[in-house]
Every structure is written in C-alpha cells, then in structure tokens.
Symmetry: C2
Subunit: 436 residues, 2 copies
C-alpha cells in the first residue's frame, strides 16, 4: 500500500506537548484572571453564514476569509475574528443578556493571509468586552484587566507598557487641519508607525494630506513622548483643545492612581488602531524587552457593535490578547518551560502483573494533588530512570520486592540528584516530593 | 440601513454564559484528571488536506465532511474527529515523540450530518490515547481514566457502568460459525443494539447471516447478562474458547481488583463499536440514571493507527468523552448549575468617580482568591441588589460614606438572606464570604 505524506497546510501548525502545555497554561492563567473580575465565557460556532461574517464586507477581510458552499447549498465561512460573531451574538440574544454584559471568548480564528514570520492562518484570540456601558469605569476596567493579565503572564511592571489614546481627540485635531473627511485613511496610515517607521508614515501621509499637513500630523503624534501621563495630556490639550475625550482621559488617569495602577500606562497620540469601529479609547500593549514584536493586547471603545444586525444600538469597550504572538515572545524571552509529561512523579514498572497495584499507589498520590504517571512496560531500572529524565519527570518510585514491602515500602529516586531514599511509605514520599 | 437577521447555521449553537461556564468547568475537570495521570495535551489544525483526512475515504464520513477548495486551490476539509489527525500527527512527528506516548486532545470537530435531537454539526471531543504500548497495563490505564474522569464529572460509582469486550473474542466466536468474512458487517449490526433493540438487530443479522446463525449470535451477545465479570468471562470462554483475548480480559480483571476499581466494570459481549480500526479491547460508558442517551465515553485498542501515513506500525489504546452528550445528560440530571457572573461578590457603584478605589478594593479580594466584580454605573442601592441577584452574585459590598470609612469600612450585603453587616474591613468581609 502506498502511504500519504503526513503534512499540515501552509500557515497551520501542530502543537507538540511542550508548546501545548505552555499554551493551555497561559489560557488557564488568563481565564482565571477574567473570572476573578466576574467576566463570563461564551462560545459561538466556528462556521457561520458568510453574510453574517462579511456583512460590511469588501477589502482585505473578504479576500482572506475561508468561504465555501456547504452540503445544503449555504454560503458559509470560518470566523476570522471574535468581534463580528460577538456582535451577531449580542443582537440575537439581546433580551437574554444582563447589561452591562461582561464576557470573554477564547477561541481559534482563521485567515488565509500571506504567511510571514509569526503570522499563521489559524490562531487564537482572547477577547474580553463590556457591552452596554458608556462610562469611564468600563474603559478603566478593561485597561486594568489588560494590565493584570499581562502581569500574570509575563512578570513585572517594568516589562510592560500600555499605550492609550482617544479617537475623539485625534479626530478633533484633524478637524483643526480641515482633514476630518480623510480621518479613516490617516488613522490607518499612522497605525503603521511601528511597522514602517516615521519616514514611511510621512510618505503615506504626504500622498493623502500633502506635505504641510503631514508634517503637522507627525509633530502631533510625537507629543508627550517620554513624558508622564499628566504632562502628555497637557500637551495634547494645547494642540487639539479640550472636550469629552480629554475629560475621559483625565478621569481614567485618576482611576489609575486611585487603584495604585498608574505604572505601565502611557498616553501616546500615535496609537490609532487601524480598525474603523473604534470611536473612543484605543490602546495597545508592548513588552519592553521585545518592542519589535508589536502589540500583544489591543482594544478600544466602540459605539455601535450590533448595528449590522439590530436597530438597537449597543456600545461597549473591549480588548483582545494575541495569544500566539505572546507565546512566541515568552518563548523568546525564555520564560516558558515545560517537558513531555505532565507528571511530577512516575511509578516504575518492574513486573507487568503489578499494574493494578501501581495504579492504586498512583491514585493515592493523585488524591494528594501530585500528578503521577505509571510506567507501563517492564524494563530495567536504569531504562526507567532514562525515560523519566527524557520526559522531564523529577521523581521515580521503585516498588520494593514482596519481602521488602512491595507497594507499601518503596524507594524514591531523585532523577536530577541521582539519589535514592529507601523504605518510604506513601505519606513520607508525598511530603518529600512536595517540599523540595 | 437594512439589518441582517442574526442567526446561526442549522446544527450549530451559541453557548450562553451559564452553559459555557459549565462546559469549561467540565473541560477543566477532565484536563486536571488527564494531567494527574501524566498525560500531555497536543493540538492539530482544524483544517487539513482532504486527502489526509479522507485517505481511507468513502462511505458516510465522506458525505458528512466539510470540504472545499481554499485560496491556493488546495482541496481541504475540516476535521471530523480527532483520531485521524492524531494518526497523521503521530506519523509526522514520530521521531520527536517519546513512546509510549500518552496524549490528550480536547477540541471541536465538524460533521454535516442530519441534525437529530442532541446531534450537532459542531461538537467537542476529548480524546486520550496511549500510543506505542501493547500491554494490558495500557488497556487498564485507559479504563481507569474513563472511570476516574466520569466519576469526577458525575458523582458516585453506582451511577456509572463501563461495558467492555474484546474484538478478538467476538471474531473467534464468528470463526466458529464460519462467518469471519462477514465480521465487519456483523459488528456494525450488533453495535445498533442500543438504538434499534434486539428485534431490530435480529432483522439486520438475518439478512447477513441467515436465521440460524443470527439466533446464535443473539444468544452469544446476551451471555453474562446480569452476571459479575468473572462469571461472564467463564460463559464467554465456554462459548468461544480461550485465547490471547480471554487472557487479556482476565488480566484486566485482576488489575481492577488490585486497584480497588472493579466496581463499574461489566463484561458485555454485545459491545462491538462500529468502527473498523479496533482490534482488541472495546468499551463504552453508560450513566445508570440515563441509559437511553447511549455511551458518553467509548474507546478501544487499535493495531495500526498510522498505517495510512507511515510504514512503521504504531498500535495503541484510547477513548473519547463525548462532552456535548455528557453535558446534556448532566443538565437533564440537574447536576449542572451556574449563573450569569463568575463572581462571588460585587462592589456596588454609588459614585462614578470612585471607580479606581472600587477596583483597588476588588483587587484585594481577588488576591485572596475571591472573584470580585465591580459594578460600573451609579444606581440606587436596591437596583444594585437586584442586579446582583439576577447575575447570581451572593454578596454585595456597599462602600461607606467618606465619614463612615469609605472603602476601608463598608457594609456587606447577603443577597439571599437580605441582611447587611456594617462597618467591616476587607479582611473580615473576606472571612465571612469564604466561610459561609
């Protein structure tokens, strides 16, 4: 029989145990944090009517989406983000939701885009949103959650910068230049600052606005650089005037101070987020030791999420953690480590017929919270130590002979130290393994 | 602007917070259990080359699979189970795996089948397998994990029956009737016993084997009914003779007894599993209070998982929990409960400008392991109590006036009892909320 070459599609990946253990641990951390704020999970189908997902349609998105006709002749597509399905969800279940609705959604999305380094066609998003609240407290909660989650995942406050801005402020500045009608283009061009650099943005802007205005815009988006939040805000007010937006930014700063969380936050007029639907706060998160990878958590406030599916307006604020990018960053920083077994200890297999007794002993450890693997095939002791070492299991239990106590009195091997302790019972062994 | 009607595809579902909370808790329980046995997670792409997924192809599977041509002109499909991707994965990464390889995989799969009650086109499978071990200890570990996981999810031993059989034993019995060449059909027909009942199976068998043989098969698959494992095995040995298979079944029974886990397990010659690839042990799990819903966890031993993609044989044993069916069952049994918030307590919002202080207090509770939501919009106290009640949050904290201690001394409201305790600090409140 000829065999089929085993391979995955370009832009798709297998996750081997070390990567997948790390990934699931990250998700667990994020989810625990989300729930600690009272946020609840939802889920939506991977596959939806193309009309639902592409409603506003056109442009880049439409080209990238996996779209096809199903068995029933329906025009369907794989979701390309979690925002559009959330909008559909919120419109469909509106009457069953309690507002403000604080939800999170951790799931895969698919985009058939060009595969560059670190870009995949299947990736995981972790979205969290507060729907149905316009107040500054909601903006602040999302910012605080960004900070909490990222701190839980990647260490200390000095590693993290959350840059924020307000769309209203930027638009008011554009008004003063008479460029409001070109704001969508300008926002998208400024958004490329991280990728193309200042001169790249200048070129783009010049085409849209001419040389003089582009110079003013570049000057504006550099305001506050290196300054603290308060001073940056003063400069922006001087340049663009005051309004609802500057008052909102002031309010947020007061909350940050009251919550003892003002570190990490920087006011940055160059943060625009390319996406059309943001109307207020916009924000991005950078790892200070790896600024080049771009934002690992971004978001903002939107006025009307559900307008495509419902005449009832529903505004909100939310953000999304890019799990794949973040995992790649943490790997690069060396803060992810994990082996090929989830176990803390293994029970050696000396005689095949002892398998039931070995599992009974193992269950005792598991009940004490110690993950315990049972080796299945009889092998020489040294072979079993090698197996434990390969799998990254730090301890091995070697049952005694029948005379020496069998599974009641056994030897505990410390794999790294290559040391044995003999004649232990389960309780003593558990204590040694957990107090190392 | 006209709006698009928000709706999901037939056979697909949204999970609202109460259902999704319960679902994620189930997955967390299962995953904790898997890891306690040292099993590690993997993940594979949702989308693969159709050739990879449908290799053996033909029949029902091919008709049900979501298959299409992607942007690059590739013939691709959504995975319809986790076994085929695991086979491809094992062949592709063979040199990087440590055998025996104990992995789990919890993920969605898609099948465009007819939607009957409780059947969905998108559903979650939880697969766990030991690849690369032929020994009885591996079979036993899978059986033990089925028992442990299901007990963790749905209560007591008396609620659970795991029925097992051996393909070799059944095939030897068919040999004795001269029907070995029809075994694939017969296995599939017997597998319908739960669905169509005894007379339904008789009709199917008569067409394949004639009246006399079908009578004998029906007699055989009733052997051991109501008997304990040992007696059932004696009856099967008398009917089909002894062999490797009966010795394996004996061995498994000894391990069960040694591990103190013989309850739940029943030897049942009518368990065949319809699928072609099983060659040894086969097993199914039933909830005694809801036998009609069918098996919630099934599996077995296979000889050569990777044969389609590799000339190196790789046998193993594994099982899969049908999470959607199990969740439906637990809902029916009333053992799932959860509300619309993940929080144990909420901080009332009396003044919008106190949002930073409220979050600071909330963080203190969260650090103590108490999930704490912050209400975002200023409302009357009674309105906030109603909101907490609707969301299923048992406690509400009402900050004092500035004179009365603000966020340092506050009132704790017990929503169910409609009782207030005044003048508490965070530590006292935390103690009250966690020792209820």
């Amino acid at each position: 029989m000829t065999t089929i070459k085993p391979r995955v599609l370009k832009g798709f990946r297998d996750f081997l145990p070390p990567q997948e253990l790390a990934r699931r641990d990250m998700i667990e951390t994020i989810e625990r944090r989300f729930r600690s704020f009272g946020f609840v999970p939802i889920d939506t189908p991977a596959l939806e009517y193309a009309e639902i997902l592409l409603g506003k349609g056109g442009g880049e998105t439409e080209k990238q989406v996996y779209r096809f006709t199903d068995h029933g002749g329906r025009d369907v597509a794989l979701r390309f983000d979690l925002t559009v399905p959330f909008a559909r969800f919120a419109a469909e279940h509106r009457s069953g939701l309690i507002l403000p609705f604080k939800r999170y959604h951790i799931a895969k999305v698919w985009r058939g885009e060009n595969t560059q380094r670190g870009r995949y066609r299947e990736f995981t998003q972790c979205d969290f949103d507060i729907l149905g609240s316009d107040c500054a407290a909601a903006d602040f909660e999302i910012l605080l959650m960004m900070r909490c989650c990222l701190l839980s995942l990647c260490g200390t406050k000095t590693d993290l910068t959350i840059r924020l801005n307000h769309r209203g402020l930027f638009n008011r500045f554009l008004d003063s230049l008479g460029l409001r009608d070109k704001s969508a283009d300008i926002l998208r061009q400024v958004d490329k600052l991280g990728k193309t650099g200042r001169e790249g943005v200048r070129e783009l802007l010049e085409e849209t606005t001419g040389e003089r205005a582009s110079g003013k815009i570049l000057e504006y988006i550099s305001l506050g650089e290196g300054e603290d939040y308060r001073k940056a805000l003063e400069q922006l007010k001087a340049a663009a005037g005051e309004g609802e937006d500057t008052r909102r930014l002031e309010e947020l700063h007061r909350y940050m101070k009251d919550a003892g969380a003002e570190d990490c936050f920087v006011l940055d007029p160059s943060i625009t987020r390319g996406l059309d639907y943001y109307t207020g706060l916009v924000c991005e998160t950078f790892l200070n030791r790896l600024p080049g990878i771009g934002s690992v958590c971004s978001g903002g406030r939107y006025d009307n999420l559900t307008e495509l599916y419902s005449r009832e307006a529903a505004g909100g604020v939310g953000a999304s953690i890019g799990l794949d990018r973040l995992q790649a960053a943490l790997e690069e920083l060396g803060s992810v480590e994990s082996g090929f077994s989830a176990a803390a200890t293994a029970i050696a297999c000396l005689k095949a017929e002892d398998s039931g007794k070995a599992q009974a002993l193992a269950e005792g450890f598991r009940r004490r919270g110690i993950r315990c693997e049972v080796f299945l095939e009889p092998k020489k002791q040294t072979q079993q130590f090698i197996l434990a070492e390969k799998k990254g299991i730090p301890w091995v239990i070697i049952p005694g002979t029948e005379d020496a106590g069998g599974f009641d009195r056994f030897t505990l091997r410390n794999i790294a130290a290559r040391e044995n302790r003999e004649g232990l019972d389960a309780e003593t062994a558990a204590r040694i393994m957990t107090t190392r």
